[in-house]
């Protein structure tokens, strides 16, 4: 089973992403901010992270940086999904270690498609 960690402080957005991914057969866990995400990733391996940018306690950029640092050290793909669409937002995400930056709200089919592609080999079907 492919595990995804959905990280967003907005419960509604979390529910949206989680239900889309669960319907597609992913096993989904949730975290409400970057800190919770890092804590979760330290105890459980995930195959994909779907991370919001603007969050309390630890924002998305810092979260992804920490996920990639020695503290966690995960090479699992990271999707960053944010309402921020100013120039440079995507670059910051890529510098932090994200693999794709998308702007909210994300098309339902696209999210599942990208999640499946990035976890191919161990996609939901595997």
């Amino acid at each position: 089973m492919t595990r995804v960690l959905v990280v967003d402080d907005a419960a509604t957005v979390r529910l949206y992403h989680t239900s889309l991914l669960q319907e597609a057969g992913f096993e989904v866990a949730e975290a409400a901010n970057g800190l919770e995400a890092v804590e979760a990733a330290m105890t459980t391996p995930f195959d994909l992270f779907v991370v919001d940018v603007n969050m309390p306690k630890m924002n998305g950029y810092a979260c992804v940086e920490t996920l990639r640092s020695e503290t966690v050290g995960t090479a699992a793909p990271v999707l960053m999904i944010s309402t921020e669409d100013r120039p440079g937002d995507a670059d910051r995400a890529y510098q932090a270690g994200a693999n794709l930056y998308m702007v909210k709200p994300v098309d339902a089919e696209r999210l599942v498609r990208v999640a499946t592609m990035l976890t191919s080999g161990k996609g939901p079907a595997a």
């Binding site: 402080d9 096993e27 669409d85 702007v103 709200p105």
Partner: protein, 795 residues
């Protein structure tokens, strides 16, 4: 309701509360960056979540609020009270909208109009609109950048490059419309060319010929075969309005420079003339997958350009590149590759990957709700749809949310069931008695009783647990006051500091809810009558800013709530005189009443000290209404006041109203319940010792004369006491006064769940509710205050 919408509404509620609270605090500590950040975050979350639904006005309004708060956060603006007013007004409007959404699942029809003025106001401190729109309409258009569609190519690569550069430098956006008229549109009186000509702010328009003209003999001159792609500066709203009769033939996207560049990077080589006919569905999915794969590769390319990924970051990059390449049908082995090698591979794949066939028109926008409601269509990569979503023993599940939000009704239902369980449980004692009396089996009776005590313990624990769930902090009741005090004090021209203490004291939700109105009344009263204007205060040698305190503290099984102010206090002489003028007290009382008793007069019905009725508290309800509603909760209210230095009103309320202890009495063979809190004692008085003073039966107890009321007569039931037996008198305390109730018989005390009277019976004021007894009988619980009134009228 759609679960996503339900979640949104629940979340919205919390957000609104934190925005209100944050803004009010901000006004007091204008510079506090933590507070600004908190409010900004709430607005931001609002905007983000509202985008999941078709609530464009909500998104637009929250976006305007967010931008303003962002400027405050960034130190570009200082929040003044005008801005705070606008922000509060915006969130008030949203609150109203959400109530409408709760009922109708859509925004009110007037939402656009309602929001327009506020949006302009919110945008004004930022120098007006951020997005330059030539028409000035939809000033705050939310720039939700769509993914670039595949149908931009006909506009011409050169023009697209230029436009992208221009858009990027000005950080603005353009709307792109594709109009695919139905072939038989002419028969529906649609005129595509006329429509397209009417598009305002037109930047560019292309007429697209069909890929292949039909053979001459099949050519139908009444079929529309052309379609249009248009770039315009008009707002999405205007475009939607213009094309409102042909929405299904229209795709509108909003793109910025970056989005157009993405299109160019992904589809530069595409040439409309060589594109094959519309692809079937399977191909359609593939085309979209290919586009996504290209997006990932482009992201990787960008990552390598703006950063220097090493270690796990590089590993992750290689992983995503490998997956994306594979999706494009290019297997890569980048194990151990360095940045240059990865970059070369990415460029290679982006350059040589097959050009995806032009897809059929993109799905209609807002697929969100539809996607949730309907089962997922054609799951990519052939994922079986019936895989279990998550395992129960899943150690990785639900990291973030251990707190459940439960619908209030569910908890109420649970409480009701606990009540019914209690009743069913009590049935066992009747069964035990029956086993012994009717069937003569003592052993069985004992076993039933054992069973009963086991169940009793569990039922009690269950009840305690459910009641615990129902407990809410007093902050819920206090939450509305910062706003209320702020608004009212401004209107009154008074400066008042509100202090709340003991917000975390817990009480049953029914108590908390019922507390709201009395508290509002007390606070209004205090603001209106108690607290002086700054000038008056300074003249009296007090600080100019008045202090209003809401404090709560738990006291055994009660909660004490105090509303205190340091205002002018209540003048006992003036109160007495007023009460005398209104005929509430006798001349004798005018002389004899102590100051404390005098202050208590304000709770009498028909009393109002304000010489003129103000628009705040003078609404025909006085302090008597406060006392009545507090007593209805089983509580008491008292007032202490010192002339010149302030007033303290203290409410004492039961922690929980869920379970009421009642004493069962009977009269004329009918049983009634009396709340135990009111019962002082039960006495049996020989008939001969009953006295009579001025037509009133009395009983003398320890030297005190207590009036006795015949319950049967008050309730108009046929019953007369048997003179040969002692009279059963239940001494109760109502409004601080001792009264005896003449009844036929006393019974036991029981714990009951009181249910309010419903339907026609709701008018029977002499009863406060009903309760089901263990033997299945319905017990009417008396509202003693009303009963005493009835008795007085009957006499």
């Amino acid at each position: 309701m759609n679960p996503l919408l339900a979640q949104f509404l629940a979340e919205a509620n919390d957000l609104l509360a934190s925005v209100d609270d944050g803004l009010l605090q901000l006004e007091r500590n204008p510079g506090d960056p933590e507070l600004v950040n908190e409010v900004f975050r709430a607005a931001h979350t609002f905007k983000g979540s509202s985008g999941l639904f078709d609530f464009p006005e909500l998104t637009r309004l929250t976006h305007a609020a967010e931008d303003l708060l962002d400027a405050v956060r960034g130190g570009r603006l200082a929040l003044d009270s005008g801005m705070a007013d606008d922000l509060l007004a915006a969130f008030d409007l949203i609150r109203g909208w959400l109530a409408h959404v709760t009922a109708h699942e859509r925004l009110p029809a007037t939402a656009g109009q309602d929001a327009a003025g506020l949006i302009t106001k919110l945008r004004a401190p930022l120098g007006g609109e951020t997005v330059a729109t030539d028409q000035g309409q939809e000033p705050s258009a939310v720039r939700r950048i769509d993914p670039p569609p595949e149908w931009l190519a006909p506009l011409g690569t050169e023009w697209l490059i230029e436009t992208a550069a221009w858009l990027s430098t000005t950080a603005s956006t353009l709307r792109f419309v594709r109009y695919l008229p139905d072939q038989d549109c002419f028969f529906r009186a649609e005129d595509p060319l006329h429509l397209v000509r009417q598009v305002p702010g037109l930047d560019r328009m292309t007429v697209i010929r069909p890929e292949q003209w039909p053979p001459r003999e099949e050519y139908d001159e009444y079929a529309c075969l052309l379609s249009f792609v248009v770039a315009t500066r008009a707002s999405t709203g205007e475009l939607e309005y213009l094309f409102r009769y042909v929405p299904d033939q229209i795709s509108i996207v909003e793109l910025d420079g970056a989005a157009i560049n993405r299109h160019l990077e992904g589809e530069e080589a595409e040439d409309l003339e060589t594109v094959p006919a519309a692809a079937p569905d399977a191909l359609h999915v593939d085309a979209r997958l290919a586009a996504d794969a290209r997006a990932v590769l482009t992201a990787a390319h960008r990552t390598l350009a703006v950063g220097e990924p090493t270690g796990t970051q590089l590993l992750a990059l290689i992983g995503s590149v490998t997956s994306a390449a594979l999706a494009l049908g290019v297997p890569l082995d980048l194990t151990g590759a360095d940045r240059e090698a990865v970059n070369a591979a990415v460029e290679g794949v982006l350059g040589r990957a097959p050009i995806e066939p032009a897809a059929t028109p993109p799905a209609v926008d807002h697929p969100v709700l539809a996607a949730l409601a309907a089962p997922p269509a054609a799951t990519p990569a052939g994922a079986p749809a019936d895989l279990p979503a998550a395992r129960a023993d899943d150690p990785g599940g639900q990291v973030g949310t251990r707190v459940l939000k439960v619908d209030q009704e569910k908890v109420d239902r649970l409480m009701e069931l606990v009540g019914e369980l209690n009743v069913a449980k009590n049935g066992l004692t009747f069964l035990a008695a029956a086993a012994e009396e009717e069937f003569g089996s003592r052993a069985l009776s004992r076993r039933i009783k054992d069973q009963y005590s086991g169940m009793h313990r569990i039922a009690e624990e269950l009840q305690a647990a459910v009641m615990d769930v129902r407990m809410l902090p007093l902050s819920v009741a206090f939450g509305r006051f910062p706003r209320l005090v702020r608004d009212l004090s401004r209107r009154l021209g008074k400066t008042i500091e509100l202090v709340t203490e003991g917000d975390d004291t817990m009480a049953d939700k029914d108590v908390i809810e019922a507390l709201g109105d009395p508290l509002v009344h007390l606070v209004r009263n205090s603001l209106d009558h108690g607290i002086e204007t700054s000038d008056e205060r300074i003249a009296a040698g007090k600080p100019g800013t008045a202090r209003l305190t809401l404090a709560a503290v738990a006291d055994g099984d009660a909660v004490l709530v105090e509303v205190s102010d340091d205002g002018r206090g209540v003048d006992p002489m003036r109160v007495k005189r007023k009460a005398y003028e209104k005929g509430l007290i006798s001349e004798e009382e005018l002389e004899s009443l102590s100051d404390t008793e005098a202050v208590d007069l304000v709770f009498r019905a028909g009393f109002s000290t304000a010489d003129q009725i103000s628009d705040l508290s003078g609404r025909g309800v006085g302090m008597d209404a406060v006392r009545a509603s507090v007593e209805k909760l089983g509580g008491t209210v008292t007032m202490r006041s010192e002339l010149g230095s302030g007033t303290v009103t203290r409410l004492r309320l039961p922690l929980s109203m869920a379970v009421t202890q009642v004493m069962v009495v009977s009269v004329a063979g009918q049983r009634f319940g009396v709340p135990v809190d009111l019962v002082v004692e039960t006495v049996r008085v020989p008939a001969a010792e009953m006295g009579r003073v001025l037509h009133q039966d009395v009983v003398v107890m320890r030297g005190e004369v207590v009036p006795v009321i015949d319950l049967a007569r008050a309730l108009q039931m046929p019953w007369a006491p048997d003179d040969s037996r002692d009279r059963a008198v239940l001494i109760v305390s109502v409004n601080g006064q001792r009264v005896g109730l003449l009844v036929e018989q006393f019974h036991r005390e029981v714990d009951v769940i009181l249910k309010p009277m419903e339907g026609l019976l709701a008018y029977a004021d002499e009863f406060s509710g009903t309760a089901l007894l263990g033997d299945g009988l319905v017990l009417l619980v008396l509202n003693l205050k009303e009963v005493l009134g009835l008795a007085a009228r009957a006499a």
